[in-house]
Structure formats: C-alpha cells, structure tokens
C-alpha cells in the first residue's frame, strides 16, 4: 500500500477509493435517489461491456462496431448451458465467455489487417452475421422471441447458498465481484509491457512498427482479449435478464456500447462506466415517459461530443487538474 501511494498520485487513489465505495454501497444509496438495485446491476454489466469496447477503442485505437456479437454470443452461450445442459451459473458464465471469446479470436485473425473505417465496417458486417444466425435459427436460439426460459441458479458456496435468483441485492454483489475481477484484469493488462504496446499502437502505428512491434499480432491479441471481456459481460447480461435477446447482437447495440464509451470518455479507464451510468439511467427514466427515448440520448450524445470531446470524465478530469 505504501508503494501504491508512492507510485500513484494521491488524488488518483482517492478517486479509486470513491468509485469502489460508491459501487459497494449502491444498493443502499440508490433507492434514496429513486433508483432500484436491478438498475445498478444493469449499469455494472453494460458498463463492463462498454469498458471492454474501450479496451480496444481507447487504449489500442481500434474501433469495432460489431462488439455486440461477442456480447450476444456470451449471453446465448450462458443461456443455452442453463437451458439445455446444466443448472450451474458459473458453468454458464464460463461457457458464454469462452464461446464469445473464441469466436472473436477467430474472426479477429481474419480482419486484423484492416484499419480505421474499413475495420469498423468489417466488424459491423460480421456482427450482423451472428445477429441473423441468432434471429433465424429458431429451433436452437428461440429466434425473434429470444432464448427462454432459463434462470440463473443459486450459488452453492460450500457452507452457504447464495440465492442470487430471488435476492436482488445478493445478485448485485455477485455481479459486482464478477465486474471487479474483469476490471482488475483489464487494469493489470494495461499496466503491463503488453498494455504499453497497445498504447504505442494507438499513439503512432508507424512508430510502433519501426520499434519492432509486430502491430497486427498485438492488435489481434488486444482484440481477442476485448472479445473475451465482452462475452463475459454478455454472459452476465443473460443472468440479469434470465433471457437472451437477438437484438443484443445487433449493430445498434454495438453502437450503444461505443456511445457509452465515447460519452463517458474513451481515454479514461473508468469513463465508459460513467457513460453506461448516464446511458442506462437516462434510458430508464426517459423511456418511462416516451418511447422515443433514443432521440434524447442522441441529443445528449451530440452535446457531449461537441462540448466535451474527451467525454464527461475527460472534462471532469480537466477541471480537477486545472483547479
């Protein structure tokens, strides 16, 4: 801890402590603000997905517009285990994560030479392929109706059983632990030599190449890791809803994740989580007033991009540093 304080500016440690404290206490303070625990759970899962997109976008400089595919495959993988094979929540998560991650790894190998808009276009196209599979293959995926019924199963922890199915607060904490594991893994990777090569590629691909970094290999690894995180988030999302929705694979869902990342601040680690908070809460409130809630989200997005090009967190950080 002493060393941590030495390495990190104190302000950063304080901010981290505040984030985790807020997340850990969420089931207690959210009702006071008119929220409910399940909303917090959704924010965590969608925030993790946005952070996974941003792992690639913000830290490698590669924009994927098809990441919903891995999210959706994770959700279907998890759901199918619970529906057809075994009543085990951990097994569902594991299977969903592996399915989406491996699919992403294979696809990534095919597209890793594309750059910029071309990369984004190819990811949309491949993402849509998976969407149509989920949509059309009714006998397995449930087609348009989605995959149901399946239910997340209570966790048997040896001495005790955690009823995450019926107890919303217990489920929130279960998801928070899953979230923390993934976020810690991301932070660990980003602070490693490999993580720094990701930044190098983002900053200047030509320089990176002429330092001797095989850029395509490193982008593929970053892409694959990002897909694993995404599929993991997708598996959790299936547990949140007890349902897997083909629309979760649609490119508009990918767009939502990119929007969360950009709105929150794609150069900051926690930005996408903030983006997810804004997005999900806004959606929750506005959609209870009008079905055209997306117009308002779009408007908010345009405002943020125009006035805070570094996202909400980027703007906050600038203000704090300036003060």
């Amino acid at each position: 801890m002493k060393q941590l304080l030495k390495l990190e500016p104190r302000r950063k440690v304080a901010a981290l402590a505040a984030i985790w404290a807020a997340l850990m206490a969420a089931p207690f303070w959210m009702p006071l603000l008119g929220g409910y625990t399940a909303l917090g759970t959704r924010v965590l899962v969608l925030g993790l997905a946005a952070m996974s997109v941003n792992f690639l976008l913000g830290f490698t400089g590669v924009l994927s517009f098809g990441h919903a595919a891995w999210f959706g495959i994770g959700a279907y993988g998890c759901g199918m285990i619970l529906k057809y094979i075994a009543l085990s929540t951990p097994l569902g998560i594991l299977a969903g994560t592996l399915a989406g991650g491996i699919a992403g790894a294979v696809l990534g190998a095919l597209i890793v030479r594309r750059r910029g808009v071309y990369f984004a276009m190819v990811t949309i196209a491949f993402g849509q392929v998976f969407y149509y599979i989920a949509f059309q293959w009714s006998s397995v995926t449930g087609g348009d109706d989605g995959l149901r019924p399946f239910y997340r199963q209570p966790l048997h922890l040896g001495v005790a059983t955690l009823d995450i199915l019926n107890n919303a607060v217990a489920f929130y904490y279960f998801v928070l632990v899953c979230f923390a594991l993934a976020v810690a893994a991301m932070a660990f990777i980003l602070r490693s030599p490999f993580g720094r090569t990701m930044l190098a590629i983002r900053e200047n691909e030509r320089r990176a190449r002429f330092l001797g970094i095989p850029v395509e290999l490193h982008i593929w690894i970053a892409f694959t890791l990002s897909c694993f995180f995404m599929a993991y988030a997708g598996s959790l999302y299936a547990l949140v809803n007890n349902f897997a929705d083909p629309r979760g694979l649609h490119y508009s869902q990918s767009g939502d994740f990119v929007m969360m990342a950009v709105m929150g601040g794609m150069r900051s680690f926690w930005g996408p989580l903030l983006g997810a908070v804004v997005f999900v809460v806004f959606q929750d409130y506005v959609s209870s007033i009008t079905i055209n809630w997306q117009i308002f989200i779009g408007f908010l997005f345009v405002l943020v991009v125009l006035f805070f090009p570094r996202g909400i967190l980027g703007a906050i950080r600038r203000t704090v540093v300036a003060s």
Binding site: F188, I189, S192, P193, F194, R196, T197, L199, A200, E203, N204, R206, R207, R209, F210, L211, G212, I213, P214, V215, H218, I221
Partner: protein
C-alpha cells in the same frame, strides 16, 4: 565484413522511378551521409533499407543476412533502427513512457503481462540512462507532443537508440530546427558515433551538419547515383557542384 550492402536496388511507383539501380556499402562504425536535391530518392532509399517498401529489383544484405523480404519489425529485430523525416513519437505519452516502451520492446518483453521487480528496476535504470544521454532530464515527465521540435527529435533518436541497433538511420535529423537545436542534435549524433561506436546513415540537407559529421557522403540525383566519397572529394566533385551545390551557389 561490411555491415550493410545494398545491391542495385530500384523502386518505381507507376511510371515514376524513385530509386534507380543504387548500390551502397556501409562499414561498421562508419557515419555515412546521403545528400541530394529534393526528389532525389533519398527517403525512398531509406524506406527500402528499413522495409517500409520492398524494392522492385536488387537485394539488401545486413550483416551477411539477406533482409530484402523481411517485414519492418523483423528488420528492427536484426538491428536496423530509424527515425523519420517528420518526427514519429507517441505524442500523448511522456518522454519516459516513450522510452520505456522502446526499452521493453528491445528487451523482448513486449508480450509480457507481468514484470519482476528486478526487470522493472533494470528497465527504469536504462530509461534514465537514455533520458540523460538525450539531454531530456528536465522534461522526462512531460508529454512529448508538448515539447519543442528539437526535444521531440531527441526523444525519437533515443527511442531508436533504446533498441540497441547496430545500424541507425536518421532521416533529416535537423529538418526544421533553429541553429541552437541543430547544434545540439549534431552534438548528440556525434557522441553516438564517436563514443558509442554506432554505425549511422543519415539524410541531411544542412551542409554544415553533413560536412561536420560524415566519414563518407553519397550523392543522389533524380533517383540515380551521382557520386560517393569523403567530404573533401564530394566538395571538389564537378558533377555534384552542378547538380546540387551549384543550385545553392
């Protein structure tokens, strides 16, 4: 044995012949300058050596090994490092981070997810050494993009040097710099060459720099070889005077 042998390389883009049948041999420890008017093919020639382009004809032999078909990253692993005409750094990272990435890559740690304390200490020490050597001590924790042109260039050169290259290629290291900055960069290159015994090939337009530093000079004109020799020989060469120095006079 020669460190670098370029044998009859040519490169054309459509009907434009950018580099036309040029050969060059560089000995270990040599500092070679390549000069020539704009459009002489100097940068293209560099790009052929570093793998940015593949030549249409000809071979490139580095330290006895044919590297003509190797990808840029692999040529770096062989020991060829370069800087660019327009400085290429990681602008939003600090000088220290820029150098740290280079050192880690050079140490074969680019795929590592974890560093031991020993490795970390070694890397930090090496980074400090490079910061000192490049005269960047006061600016190590500033974003490179905010620094002066000269300091950005020094950072870029130190990044290339972090790779422990056996051949360093510098494309117009003093381009766009004032007198003071030019002087500092020249001194830096001189130290690397004299004290570090580094083999350097540089492209340069500033004749003061060229004649001050170079052991030998090669002159290109419109993609073709024009002359090669020691600085006095080149200064006395009639063809060079008309094609190149003549323009300036």
């Amino acid at each position: 044995m020669s460190l670098l042998q370029v044998k009859n390389v040519s490169k054309h883009f459509g009907s434009l012949v950018a580099v036309n049948n040029i050969s060059m041999t560089v000995e270990p420890g040599e500092l070679r300058a390549i000069i020539g008017p704009n459009g002489a093919g100097k940068t293209t020639f560099f790009n052929l050596i570093t793998g940015f382009f593949t030549p249409n004809t000809g071979r490139i032999i580095f330290d006895g090994r044919d590297v003509t078909d190797l990808l840029p990253a692999r040529r770096v692993w062989c020991g060829i490092a370069r800087t660019f005409q327009v400085t290429e750094v990681f602008p939003e990272l600090t000088v220290r981070e820029n150098l740290r990435i280079s050192v880690e890559v050079a140490s074969g740690m680019r795929l590592r997810a974890w560093l031991s304390q020993t490795d970390d200490d070694k890397i930090r020490a090496r980074v400090r050494e490079l910061i000192e050597m490049g005269g960047l001590a006061g600016k190590a924790d500033r974003q490179v993009g905010e620094l002066s042109h000269g300091d950005q260039r020094a950072t870029e050169i130190m990044m290339a040097l972090a790779l422990k290259p056996r051949l360093l290629l510098l494309d117009e290291p003093t381009a766009g710099m004032g007198d003071q900055e030019t002087y500092e960069i020249t001194q830096l290159i001189r130290r690397l060459h004299r004290d570090g015994k580094l083999t350097i090939v540089l492209i340069e337009h500033d004749m003061r720099v060229v004649f001050h530093l170079a052991d030998r000079i090669m002159v290109l004109d419109q993609g073709k070889f024009l002359a090669e020799g020691t600085p006095p020989e080149i200064a006395a060469n009639k063809a060079v005077q008309t094609a190149y120095l003549g323009q300036a006079a």
